[in-house]
Symmetry: D3
């Protein structure tokens, strides 16, 4: 069963975050392998595999939470890529960030948009396309 959670989580992680997610786990191998295991088993195996919300909805919520937390530019990078991977359009990602302005103010939103600008450029995406 434990193995099952890991396998399910790994598949979900690969589906959402692609190679960026796998690199996060690989980067933990020599320093904190159990942290990588918990991310796979708990975050992706338990939480991301639940029903009631589809993957697009989960990524929208994740983007809003990471933006609001602050200081999570690295994780925003991974999950902006994740949002694109599950089919959320660049324009919609920006719109999710704008919806947070009344609750977080402008600085957190500016930081998130800055990460999106970098990711969209790397993937040669046009936000207006």
């Amino acid at each position: 069963m434990g193995k099952n959670r890991y396998e399910q989580g790994w598949n979900r992680l690969a589906e959402v975050d692609g190679s960026a997610g796998e690199q996060v786990i690989a980067g933990l191998k020599d320093i904190a392998p159990d942290l990588g295991r918990y991310i796979v088993e708990f975050a992706f195996g338990d939480i991301y595999c639940r029903e009631e919300l589809d993957l697009k909805e989960r990524e929208q919520i994740t983007l809003a939470s990471l933006l609001t937390l602050g200081g999570c530019e690295t994780q925003l990078d991974v999950h902006i890529n994740g949002a694109l991977n599950v089919g959320i359009a660049p324009k919609k990602i920006i719109e999710i960030f704008l919806q947070c302005i009344p609750y977080t103010g402008f600085p957190r939103v500016l930081n998130a948009v800055g990460v999106a600008k970098k990711v969209f450029a790397e993937r040669k995406l046009n936000v207006n396309a």
Copy 2:
């Protein structure tokens, strides 16, 4: 034009938050009326009236942002009611909160679920219905 933003915002506020939202604005009348005006004009007139995301999506993002901020139980109360008003099922509201666990940890999620429990009881809603 300014009047337009206020009217549009007021209609949107009434649609989302119902009487609870109107009470927030009314409660500011004698102490900080301009704060109420900015919430109507900017948060609801400018942001909530944008396209690209529907009202259900906006409320999902708002719930995730308020949960993550912490210390916003009063606003969570208003927007859990708002989420119900725009047609998000109680079970889905709880699911939005669970999706935040990997990003915020358990305490913020427990606080948000505590507010939902109170709101659902007030509205005699069954989360499993």
Copy 3:
């Protein structure tokens, strides 16, 4: 010298926060007296006694910082009283809170205005006077 810091701090605390500040220190006597001592010696003796900013400026900065932190309603109560004690008008206190909207969003500002409403009512102050 240590005694000096305490005395200077105590006088400054009394000047700014009045009996509310003294009650905070008294309330710590049986549980964490050194915490009370550090607040007097360090916060009020070292910091609040510095030159370069007057007491009104210090209270303005303190209100902005407490509002932004969140979850500090008790401390906001003490320092809204403190701001009034050093001569900041009720209307200006509200204005300080409004200036924070672009940086913190609306929820933190709503919470701070809610505390101000209570304090102004207790002191029978009219924000428009």
Copy 4:
């Protein structure tokens, strides 16, 4: 295996947080039972059952993290009780909070000490004993 994680977690939760912890889980039964399950399985089954740190060390770290987060007075109540349950003296709990002053400032520490004061009174504990 999944059952094992739950059982292990439940035993650890009972050991640390006693009836207060069990009440948290029970209170979630009708609204978000899976949240209770994750707290038992993941927080207590996976994390609190690890070696390398004993329970006293884990509670010290938990108290520091909850104090720093802010807005977690309910969880601080549970874990101040938990710290007492695993044998941390009242005086040491206060000391943990004082160590956070340089990193969080006074307001968060004042809020945590306020919760401790209530818990110690409920358990008729003298901080100087």
Copy 5:
């Protein structure tokens, strides 16, 4: 009227943040132009154009709020420049940061002072002048 808010905001932005502020807006043109528009219209047109506080007071409050938020080094850079532009002396900017120590602890203050050090060096300013 909407145009008016933008024009008023743009003038105020130029007055406070100078070319750095204009660069923030320009950098948003291709990715999130409406975010730039809201900063101009709402933050600078609505909020910064209010009476009751002068520009020096507004920048003092802004610096305290940004320091307390954390993770806003980019925005602190812009507003330390803004504070200098409206006539706040370097020494006073540092003093604003020191006033926050009791409320935020040392790390946030160290980060803000680090940004000030860079800005003062770029502008060849001596904090003791």
Copy 6:
């Protein structure tokens, strides 16, 4: 007496943070020397010199608080070094970070582990040794 607090604090700072701590103070000399003095006198002279907790416990609490605050990577670098200096094993530092997952979620923990990875590499330490 004041001099005494500084000397005691300086010795404690040197003992805990070594040359990294001294560099923090030195880096403040030209911009905010009093900030350096307060860190020495108050954080290290008053707080770190208290009894009831030994230096290892103080560093554990400090690491948990800094991780939870977020945006304090520079200070985490200094205090991961400090934790090693007072004899906390690399493996235990990672374990402290893992204990925070249930309270802060994964992103803050990932950021802290990333800093530890850098520090351990600089000191050629093996987390499994």
